[in-house]
Symmetry: C2
Subunit: 185 residues, 2 copies
Amino acid sequence: MSLHDQLRAVALAEFATAGYAATSLQRIAVLAGTSKASVLYHFASKEQLLAEIVSPALDDLEQLILPIEGTGGLRRADFVERFVDLLLLHSQVVPLVINQGATLDDVPVMHRATELMRRVAELFRLASGSTIEKLRFGVAFGGVAYTLAAADRLGLNGEIPIDDVRSALLEILHDLLVPADTRTA
Amino acid sequence: MSLHDQLRAVALAEFATAGYAATSLQRIAVLAGTSKASVLYHFASKEQLLAEIVSPALDDLEQLILPIEGTGGLRRADFVERFVDLLLLHSQVVPLVINQGATLDDVPVMHRATELMRRVAELFRLASGSTIEKLRFGVAFGGVAYTLAAADRLGLNGEIPIDDVRSALLEILHDLLVPADTRTA
DNA sequence: CAGAGCACTGGCCGATCGGTCAGTACGGTG
DNA sequence: CACCGTACTGACCGATCGGCCAGTGCTCTG
């Protein structure tokens, strides 16, 4: 793995667990076995390092929701399944965006992230939904994000097969978000 | 309201929305209309300011779970209701602990917070529960915390009566955590 | 009035932050 | 050999951080 990729991996892990503001370029450099100056050689700034880490996940999410926004057709059960797969694929980016998105919305890439979350919410017509429906949405996605973030504390790392986690999350989200009659909206 | 209390209120709001690390004593002082030095006159350190903000909520939580731990009797439905009331009472502390607890566990008061969360989890026998039960717990409490933290973005502030929020959260948590047959464990 | 004590302040400290820059080692390439 | 671009570094910069301290007004009390 190139130093460039290694720096991205180290920074992602630190940003997700310790927080963006609390993670210094110096620390990233030491963990990757190089110098702070070399970090800023590979990435123009700390913000651009964050952007390069988060953007791929946002691109995937945008590709997931764009066709749905275009046609207006959303089959919730299908969407939930593809969404869970996306969350698991970018399991470290999820808590980073969820936990720190609000505090970092002055950073362009994080603003884009929160904007995408808003668009996902609109897919579920939450803007016009009832109070409990809005809350269901918040609990569902916030809950999944927190669970992924707190995986260590809950003992979900390593010992539990990823497929079990996937099917469990699917069941929980399905219960929360998919009405008894599968509808298209 | 005394300056002491006003500083606590301002700091709580900033810690919860912008983050502990990202909130400087200087900013707290300006928002409260005083000087940074006066903040450190009222509170020995930034950490102690955080402790004084978070501790009351932790005390309430401890009082809630201590008798249950003592007798070993937990009626989930009752507990969920009292827990939701506690979350709503300390609605600003909740996202502070949930979102930043992991990154600040070197701060004693935050370590106590995560330790209390672990004890709550044990009340639900999550340590020995199945994978999906562990995940249900994480999704439920993480989800509620995220929802309270993201209340602004979801449009839950002001326009929706607090009683509606309360009953909606109760219904959602009840669905997630209380088995069909109300049991004592 | 003298003086003790509380509330508060400006100015300073060392540490650390993100970021810049001149310089260096080195593997091609002509 | 000279030359160049890439990868990388140590030293340094201004800004900001949490925290410290001497000093200042103000109020209350003997």
